[in-house]
């Protein structure tokens, strides 16, 4: 074999091996049961869910934003010490992911929501802490528990009409929310109902979200129909009508800068173009308003808009330094206007 043939063969061997490993991962990876970034257990969420929000707690707590605000709010490991002593749970260490699912209030019923928490829990300690919290005598709190399809469900404020509930689906999964929602999740988990898998639209949207983001959100038309369709025109002079969105997908990261990708799906291409033009107009306006100010100029260039058929993609990258600059600018402007008021 000549040297050239050897190079070609070696190269194609590397590519074939890579593809084989990739396909192997696709077949063998246990995460395949997941839908997009949502673990398979998330399919136990109620079928009527209209939006799902996910937060990767490990990445969130490692981000500069959390570090900064945790210091300010005194959310230090020491602050968690009491909670850890009682329940064995230290949120920043033991919680991996949080899923928040919900639906806006409808004619058929009130607003619904449920939270799934994934992590490592000391069930005994947590259960004991809850039961102890119930207390005795004057200290007695409104905590009770019952069994639903073999799961212990703790009820908070049962006597007040709308009890909140909490239950362990397994050692690694906790569900909390209104009792009706928690019961529905348990039923879905046990296979009595299909759960979120029945909601084809939301499952499709979840499938379009790439895993690996610090936070993400998907919402369908029902949720978005409540958003205001008329907004003040960026050029002034009255209101302008925004085309209705069919779906919204948001993914974002907080480290090393705030990075967000928003995908909105409009009714058709023309509506998407209109929406993209509105966003572009806003960006151009910031650029104009920015004038010589580098912070505002950077803010204007931090956004990029891309239209793809009926979809509009909005990318934003906001470095923390830029946010600090904008904050300083806002404070400076406020101080200037205050001193001007005083002079008057």
């Amino acid at each position: 074999m000549t040297r050239s043939r050897l190079v070609v063969t070696a190269s194609f061997a590397v590519v074939s091996l890579g593809i084989a490993v990739a396909l192997g991962a696709l077949v063998l990876d246990p995460a395949r049961a997941a839908v997009g970034p949502m673990p398979g257990e998330g399919l136990a969420l109620p079928a009527g869910t209209r939006f799902v929000v996910g937060v990767d707690v490990a990445r969130f707590t490692a981000s500069p934003m959390y570090q900064k605000h945790a210091k300010k709010a005194d959310v230090t490991p020491e602050a968690f010490a009491e909670l850890e002593e009682k329940t064995g749970l230290r949120p920043d260490r033991d919680i991996d992911q949080i899923l928040i699912a919900g639906a806006p209030p409808s004619a058929n019923g009130p607003e619904r929501g449920v939270v799934l928490v994934f992590g490592r829990f000391d069930r005994y300690k947590i259960s004991r802490a809850i039961e102890t919290e119930a207390g005795e005598g004057e200290k007695k709190k409104d905590v009770s528990w019952k069994t639903v399809e073999g799961f212990t469900v703790y009820l908070f404020g049962e006597g007040k009409g709308k009890p909140g509930a909490l239950s362990f689906l397994d050692d690694d999964t906790l569900v909390l929310g209104p009792l009706a929602s928690v019961e529905e999740v348990i039923a879905n988990r046990n296979g009595s109902r299909k759960g979120l898998a029945e909601n084809a639209e939301l499952v499709r949207l979840l499938g379009t979200v790439k895993p690996g983001s610090t936070f993400w959100m998907v919402g369908d038309q029902t949720l978005l129909s409540r958003m205001p369709s008329n907004v003040p025109s960026p050029m002034g002079g009255g209101q302008m009508t925004l085309p209705a969105l069919q779906s919204l997908v948001v993914t974002g990261d907080l480290d090393p800068e705030i990075a967000m990708h928003v995908t909105g799906e409009a009714r058709d291409e023309a509506a998407a173009r209109q929406l993209a033009d509105v966003v572009r107009g806003l960006t151009a306006l910031i650029q104009l308003q920015g004038g010589q100010n580098p912070a505002l100029q950077s803010l204007a260039t931090a956004f990029s808009v891309n239209q793809e058929g009926a979809k509009v993609h909005l990318n934003a990258r906001l470095p923390y330094e830029l946010l600090d600059q904008l904050k300083a600018l806002g404070e400076k402007r406020k101080a200037t206007s205050e001193s001007a008021d005083k002079t008057e």
Binding site: T2, R3, S4, R5, V7, V8, S11, F12, V14, V15, G18, I19, V21, A22, L23, A25, L26, D29, A31, R32, A34, G36, A62, P64, K210, P211, G212, S213, D253, D255, P256, A259, H261, R280, T283, A284, T301, F303, S304, V305, N306, Q307, E308, G309, H313, N315, R317
Partner: protein, 270 residues
């Protein structure tokens, strides 16, 4: 049939001739100093990814898929692959003319179509040899920044990227092969096309449709944040149309190149 024509050996069948030209050209292309230069360009992201894995604080690193998307979209598809195509494809015939070996090639009993096809096939194999391993290695180096779990979700992206890279090399290659046989000095027009004309992809309206890069970009799912005008006017064209257009560019480019190459008389400078 005249006596002279009877004396001529029969022409070598197209496929056999193309295969022979392919073998010859592949030997010259793959193991050459030129390929070494291009390998440096096309494998640079691998070096950068290794450096990143060694040096960077992975805990605070951006998402691996974003970095991989940046490498594929910005580095390979927008810049390195068109440059590699310009480098190799304009030289397919020009090298033979410059080296004064075109005479030997054209005086053999092989058709000009087989020469062009054999050389173009060698170009495709050479550029794929230099490009695809880089993309695969970058994928595994960057997407596994936080471990191997979750890689499966991005496998369709990898497969799609490899296919788009191959299609882009074919389309740009055919275009620059045409430029190579059309012009005596195709380098500057080729660079002007890449640096100037392809910038239309960043403008609004139908202008992106007149470029190759806009169609190529539309086929991948990575949308890294752009700089400059592209920030304002990024357009994604329909994927189905993009495949048709790129295949059409490849076929038309090669047909045009053959049309010129089959009629051209090569007078070598003394």
């Amino acid at each position: 049939m005249s006596a002279d024509e009877k004396a001529l050996p029969p022409p070598v069948p197209f496929l056999r001739a193309a295969r022979a030209v392919f073998d010859l050209s592949l030997e010259e292309m793959v193991w050459s100093r030129k390929s070494l230069v291009m390998a440096g360009l096309l494998l640079m992201p691998v070096a950068l990814a290794v450096l990143f894995r060694l040096v960077a604080n992975l805990k605070h690193a951006p998402a691996g898929i974003d970095l991989y998307g940046l490498v594929v979209a910005m580095y390979y598809l927008r810049n390195a692959l068109p440059l590699a195509a310009l480098f190799f494809a304009t030289a397919l015939i020009a090298d033979e003319v410059e080296g004064r070996t075109i005479t030997y090639l054209l005086s053999r009993p092989v058709s000009r179509a087989s020469i062009l096809c054999g050389k173009f096939a060698a170009y495709v194999v050479t550029t794929l040899t230099l490009t695809l391993p880089g993309i695969v290695v970058c994928f595994f180096l960057l997407v596994t920044l936080r471990g191997f779990s979750g890689v499966a979700a991005f496998v369709p992206d990898l497969l799609r990227d490899l296919a788009v890279a191959a299609l882009a090399l074919c389309a740009y290659g055919a275009l620059f092969t045409l430029l190579g046989v059309l012009l005596k000095r195709p380098t500057i027009p080729g660079l002007v096309f890449l640096v100037g004309w392809e910038s239309l992809a960043n403008l609004p309206g139908w202008l992106p449709r007149y470029t190759v890069t806009a169609w190529v970009r539309s086929l991948i799912s990575h949308r890294p944040v752009d700089e400059g005008l592209a920030e304002l006017f990024q357009t994604t064209l329909p994927a189905g149309e993009a495949v048709v257009v790129l295949v059409a560019i490849t076929i038309l480019g090669l047909a045009g190149a053959y049309g010129i190459f089959s009629r051209r008389q090569f007078v070598l400078d003394q």
